[in-house]
């Protein structure tokens, strides 16, 4: 892998973002990325964090509510179950609750998550970071990674339902509003992530 060293040199570092000299470098990188040479470096994490925080604050100010993701997916699953077995879905304590809120196209979080995908696409395209790939460590196959991804997604789905939210609805939104349950969720998620990490080391490193 001869490209590895070259990519590492364009990997983002903390000190880079924002300085005028670097702005020129970024523009050049972006041009190079559009030529298919190399993707632009990621934004400084603290700058990205402030941006996300301001988006969340805007949601509070305009709507009185925060962000979410797993809630939108629950509405989609509920709508799917309803399409297959309407009575069964409406009788179910969880799906019924989501269905009672109205049809899927009137769901606030469903529109928001549609926007998330669109915003991610726009950002990736403009930075030359759109790439058809499977992100994984060097020691596993794409197939193994996709199986882990599906399994991890399923476990996460169960966890998010039990906790009544995920990284968006609990960690970001509830965290900023100082909800005690949200901070319990954050503590649990980080603790379990670190505790389980050795089991999945092969997949990533």
């Amino acid at each position: 892998m001869t490209g590895a060293a070259a990519y590492r040199t364009v990997a983002p570092s903390l000190t880079r973002a924002g300085s005028p000299a670097e702005a020129g470098t970024d523009a050049r990188r972006r041009a190079a990325a559009l030529d298919g040479e190399a993707p632009a470096a990621y934004l400084n994490p603290y700058v990205a964090g402030v941006g996300l925080g301001l988006v969340l604050l805007a949601a509070f100010v305009v709507m009185g509510r925060g962000l979410g993701a797993s809630g939108a997916f629950t509405s989609m699953v509920a709508a799917g179950v309803e399409a297959v077995a309407p009575e069964h879905a409406r009788a179910n304590g969880m799906f019924g609750h989501y269905l009672a809120a109205g049809p899927l196209w009137t769901d606030w979080l469903a529109w928001e998550i549609l926007g998330v995908a669109a915003g991610g696409l726009l950002s990736a395209l403009l930075a030359g970071r759109f790439r058809s790939a499977v992100e994984r460590g060097p020691r596993v196959t794409d197939r193994a990674r996709l199986l882990y991804a599906f399994g991890g997604g399923a476990v996460m789905g169960v966890g998010a339902k039990l906790a009544r939210g995920c990284t968006s609805g609990q960690a970001l939104t509830g965290g900023a509003l100082l909800s005690a349950g949200s901070w319990l969720f954050i503590a649990g998620a980080f603790a379990a992530g670190y505790a389980a990490a050795p089991l999945f080391r092969r997949q990533w490193l």
Binding site: M1, L14, G49, T74, W111, V116, F130, L162
Partner: protein, 207 residues
């Protein structure tokens, strides 16, 4: 007129869906900008290689928290109209633990899986598929799980109440802890090969 604008009937339900779309676009934009659509980058968090998840998450939490604090203080925001997620102690702690295992196994969370998908990453699609399956499983098992799901409800409970601290002091404490965490994160990352970039290489392999 004080925020939140929607609560005052400033605009209707139809417009609120357009707001949702716009908020989502901005949310997805900053997630992708920060590299949060890259599972390798997110997972590196749990091996102390790249603490971007921690930095982005807590910078965002502190920014929004301080924003709510100051807008309230300036009389521009009515905090009682904000929806604060209520607390169920056991299911939220347990749910967090389960979620954390799924996070390091799948490498993406629900929101970031959307960004991974729309930036071309096929593993994002697998995470999303798994998540829909997990939600379906949970829903179908809901009659059995309902007891656990509804256990230990305490209503709206906030950190100032738990810690018996004034709101201002709690805001200060959370900010100070986040900053201390950032300093620690920078130290931990040093000498570990640098953060994971957007390229197709697999840095920090081996060891």
């Amino acid at each position: 007129m004080r925020a939140p604008l929607y609560e005052w009937g400033f605009f209707g339900d139809g417009a609120s869906l357009l707001v949702a779309l716009a908020v989502g676009v901005a949310f997805g934009w900053f997630l992708e900008r920060g590299g949060m659509g890259n599972a390798r980058k997110l997972a590196a968090q749990f091996y102390f290689r790249d603490l971007t998840v921690f930095k982005v998450l807590f910078t965002a939490v502190v920014t929004a928290m301080l924003g709510v604090f100051w807008l309230t203080r300036l009389g521009l925001l009515e905090p009682s109209l904000l929806y604060v997620p209520p607390t169920w102690v056991v299911p939220q702690l347990l749910g967090g633990l389960v979620f954390g295992v799924g996070f390091v196994m799948g490498g993406l969370c629900p929101g970031t899986s959307c960004v991974a998908i729309s930036s071309g990453r096929r593993d994002g699609l697998a995470v999303l598929g798994g998540m829909l399956f997990g939600i379906l499983l949970f829903g179908e098992a809901f009659p059995v799980l309902e007891g656990l799901y509804s256990a230990t409800p305490v209503g709206t409970l906030t950190l100032p109440e738990v810690l018996r601290l004034p709101y201002e002091a709690t805001v200060l404490l959370v900010t100070a802890m986040a900053v201390a965490g950032f300093v620690l994160a920078e130290r931990l990352e040093r000498g570990r090969g640098g953060p994971v970039g957007p390229g197709p290489d697999t840095p920090q392999g081996g060891t």
